[in-house]
Amino acid sequence: MKARLALVLAVAALIFFAGYAALFIAPDEKTMHAIQRIFYFHVPSAISAFIAFFIVFIANAAFLVTRKPQWDWLGVAGAEVGVACCTVVLITGPIWARPVWGIWWTWDARLTSTFILWLLYITYLLLRGLLEDPQRRATLSAIFGIFAFLDVPLVYLSNRLWRTQHPQPVILGGENSGLAPGMGKVLLICWIAVVCVMILLVVDRYCLERLRHDYEELRFEVESRSAAAQSIGKER
């Protein structure tokens, strides 16, 4: 418990430092000025969402191979946290877009594919809620999760393959892309902070799923005993 508290405090300190770096250390962008600083949490949240959905993909594939429930727990943990990260991206993006583009939203390839990504993983979570049988739920959601991951490379490549209102990539982009050195360092700090938060959330959500499994087992045991007691009573 103490180790966890220390970890949470360390991540909180990192978040505080990342926020300070994004607001006060990062150099001012010449055309957008202050509003460009949303970049330091918008982009790391998007990368964290991709990582979370990659965890879902790996966990789902591993579940289909091994049939171990632990992989299913990791899959649902990654999906929920990925949706949270993707929600951050879909809210901070329009807040940034409004003063810069003059519009909150446009249906270009990057924005639309990101919205579809969010919808796919919401569907993944809703699908799980509809299925009662744990094995069936885990199998069907694993298949769906693998299918949903196909949208991740599409989101990544969307502003490379098509002309979009969304800016062209500044990281791993073409010859004229790139970040000022000061911006790159601050982005790295913010990215580490958001990834740490994402990992903490995935671990917590995994523990919740493990607890749910324990609860289901106990409930089954209680129901079996009560059914056995009732049948003995009837025989007498």
Binding site: I35, I91, L208, L211, R225
Partner: protein
Amino acid sequence: MKNFESLFAAWMVVWAVFFVYEVTVARRMARLREDIERLKQQLREG
């Protein structure tokens, strides 16, 4: 600072989403722990 309100709103959204999510996970965990304790009690009582 121009557009400071939008920057502040975005900043709040980032941490509010993560914080609210963590609170929901913690609440679901607390509820499950209570339910598990209740079931264990039922098993002990036979």
